[in-house]
Chain length 461, copies 2
Amino acid sequence: MADIGAALAEIVGDVLTGADIAADYGHDESLGGRAVTPAFVVRPRTADEVAAVLKLATAEGVPVTARGSGSGLSGAATPRADGILVSFERMNQVLEIDTENHVAVVQPGVTLQELDARTAEHGLVYPVYPGELSASLGGNVATNAGGMRAVKYGVTRHHVLGLQAVLATGEVLRTGGKFVKASTGYDLTQLIVGSEGTLALVTEATLKLQPRIRHSATVLAPFHDLTEVVSAVPKVVGSGLAPLILEYIDGMTMGAITYTADLQLGIPDEVRDRSQAYLVVMLENRDEQRLEADTVAAGELLSELGAIDVYVLPGGSARKLIEAREKAFYTAKNAGADDVIDTVLPRAALPAFMAEVTAIAQANETFVIGCGHAGDGNVHLAVFQKDAEKRATVLRALFAAAMALGGAISGEHGVGHAKKAYFLELEDPAKVDLMRRVKQAFDPAGVLNPGVLLDPDAEGQ
Amino acid sequence: MADIGAALAEIVGDVLTGADIAADYGHDESLGGRAVTPAFVVRPRTADEVAAVLKLATAEGVPVTARGSGSGLSGAATPRADGILVSFERMNQVLEIDTENHVAVVQPGVTLQELDARTAEHGLVYPVYPGELSASLGGNVATNAGGMRAVKYGVTRHHVLGLQAVLATGEVLRTGGKFVKASTGYDLTQLIVGSEGTLALVTEATLKLQPRIRHSATVLAPFHDLTEVVSAVPKVVGSGLAPLILEYIDGMTMGAITYTADLQLGIPDEVRDRSQAYLVVMLENRDEQRLEADTVAAGELLSELGAIDVYVLPGGSARKLIEAREKAFYTAKNAGADDVIDTVLPRAALPAFMAEVTAIAQANETFVIGCGHAGDGNVHLAVFQKDAEKRATVLRALFAAAMALGGAISGEHGVGHAKKAYFLELEDPAKVDLMRRVKQAFDPAGVLNPGVLLDPDAEGQ
C-alpha cells in the first residue's frame, strides 16, 4: 500500500491518508449508509492525472470511487477501505459558456449553483434542478439527477451532449459533442450517464443550455385526495400549458415542510382540513401577459378537475414553498426518517401505487409519507421504521409493487449501495447479466466503484 | 442451409428463399449501395418467434439483418447473401395509445404515417418527422432518426422511453418503461437506439407523445449568404420563440425543390437573385393570436438579423415547401446525385464547415449542394461525382473537416455500410475498440448485422 501511495503522489502531487482524511470523504447523504475511510484520497487537476490514477488502479487491482460534492442519496460515492477516493474538488472550472451553440462545458467539480450564476450572465439556464445547489455536475451525471423541472425540461441525461471520460484502463475518450443528435456509433455518452461511477470517470461534460425565461407564476391547488391530484396531471400536461413544475405533496408532508420553513400560504383551516393532497403548478413564460393568461387558465382547469380551491402564490411564498419542497429530504431526515426512496412509475399508476404504499405501511406498522414529481411519476417517500429487518421488508414490498405497476426502483437517486440488494433481487437476471458484461467491456479489472449497483460483493450492502 | 430453412419454417411458418424473395428485400434507399438477395427472409409475428430465430442464428453462426420499411440511407438493412433477413412487416400493430401517460406502444413495423393518424385521434403527436412517412418505427429506433422538428422536440432517442428487445442469444428483455426518467442501472434503451441492428432486435417500443399543437405558421427569409443565415440561428433559438422548424436551404437546392414541386413562393426575381441561402422558420402555438404575435416577432427579428425580406407563407405553400424540403433527397437522387451525407456539427461551426465544403468540392471538381437542419447543425449534402475514387476522397475530406470542427459523421442517417470505411478510419480507435467490446457483450457470436458499423469485414464495404 505504501508503494501505491507513493505512486499516487507522483501523479497528483499530494495524497491524503489516515487521519488526514476528513470525515466527509467517507460518506454521502444517504440515510443509514456506512461511513468508510478510504486508504487514499487524491484530488487530481487534469484528465491526464485521472487517467494515470486509473491505470495504476487497474494494474494494482485497487478499487476507485469518484466523489463530487457528496450530496448523493444512494451511497454511490462511499469509498472502499482498501481503495482510492478520487475527489473532483480541484476540477471545478466552468470551461466555457458557448452562447452561439447554447452549451456549457464544465469540469465535474462545478456545482449547480456556480453553473446557474454563470449561465444567468448570458440569459441562459441549465434547467436541471435536483434541489441541492451544492451538488456537482459530475455527481449529477453519475446519478442522472432529476428534480422538479423534469416535467418540462427532462433530466440530466437529456442535457448531456458530450463527455470527456476516462476508462479504468487509462484511455481518455471524448463522446458526443456540441450537438443535440448523432447517429455515428453507439451512444457512449448516454451509457455513462447514470452509471454511478462504475463504467468511467467523467472529467468534462458538455451540457445543453436553454433560454432563461424570466417570468414565472405558481399555483397551489388543494385536492381532497391523491387520486384526484393524479387524475388531474395528464390533463394539465395535455393542455399545452407546458408547466415547469408539477408536484404533488401529501397533507402530512405539506404540514411538515411549511412548519419547518415557517411558511404561511394563506390556506383557510376549513380547506386544509378537507385536503389530503396538494398539486403545485409552476408556469413560466417569456411574456408577462401570456403568463398571466396562462395562470388564469391553469386555475380554471384545476378547478374543473376538482381542486377545492386555487391559490396563486405571491413570488416570495412561491419561492419559499419550492425551496421547502426541495428540502423535503432534510425535513424527513430531521424528523427521524430511516430511509428514503424515489420509485418511478407510469404517472397514471400513482393512485394504485399509493394504495399499495398505504397497505404495505399498515401491514408492517411503518409510517410512510411523501411527495413527488407527479408529472414524471416519481414518488419520493420517507420511511419511518427503526427495525432494520422490518424496514427491508417494507422497502422490498414497495419496490416490488412499483415494478409490478411498470415502474423502476429509482427515478433519480440511483441504486448505489443503498438499493443494490433490492435491485439485484427484483431485476430480470438476464438484464443484470447483460449490464455486467457491459461493465466488463469498460472496466475489465473491475476496479471502478466495486460493491455498487451490479456487484454482489457484501461490502456494498 | 436446407436444415436452417426447415428450422426457420418451424419457427415462423413460412420462409422465403431464392426467386420468391422480392428484389426490395435486397436493399434500402442508400445511393450506390449493393443489392443482396439473402438466403432466407422470415416475417415473424411475435417476439418469441424473433427470439427463436436469433437463438438458431447464434447456434448456427448465421448472420441476421433486420428490416423495417427499407427507407434507410446507409445500407444498414442490406442483408447478407448467406444470412437471414428478419422483416418486421407482420409486426405492424399500434398496441396502445395511452392517453393518461401520453405514450404509444408500437411494434417495429408500424409506419410513422400510421402512428401519426392514431395519435391524432387523441390530440397527441409523436413529433419526430424524419421526412419519410412510410418509414417504420423499428427502423427509426435503429438509426435514431431525426428530421426537421428536432430543434424543438429532439430526435428518436429523446422519445424512446422503453423497448422490448431480443438479444442474439434469444433472451427477450424489457428496458425502461412508461416514464421519462430512471436511475436504475445502465440505460440499455439508449444504448440500443441508434445501434443499427447490431446489438439487439427491437420487437416493441414505448414512445413519448406530446400534445398536438394545432396552429402553425411558416416564415421564409432569404439571406445574402449562408454565413448570415447561420449567424441568425442562435438568436432565433435564444429568443424563446421555440421554433418547431429552423431549416437552411441553399439557393441551388431551393431552385431544385421548388422547380420539382412546381412551387410558387412569391419571391420577386430581384430578391431571389441576391439570395444564396434561405432560412425557413416554422412556429406553432396552441393559441392562434399568440401564434400571430410570434410570427410578427419572428419576422422582425429575422429582418434585424439581415434577411433581405421576410415572407409569411400561406398554409398551402408552407406545407408544400416543407414537403418539398423533405423530398430533397429524392430531388437530389433524381438529379443524379452519387451520394448524400448528413454530417452534424456545432451549429456555430456551419459557416466554417460550408467554406471547407466549397474548397473541397472545387479542389476535386465535384458538385456539392445542400440544405440542413440549421438549428441542429445537421448538414445534408448531395455529392455529384461519378468517379468512385474521387468521390471517396471528397467524402473522407468532408467527414474529416466536420470532425475537426467538433462534429460527427452522421446526424441521423447512421453509418451502416455506406459510411463505415470513413467511420473506422477517422474515429478514435480506443472508442471503436470499446464499442466492439460492447457489441461482444450483447452478441457474442457476432451474428447481428455483421459488416455494418464496426465490422471491418469487406462484404460490408
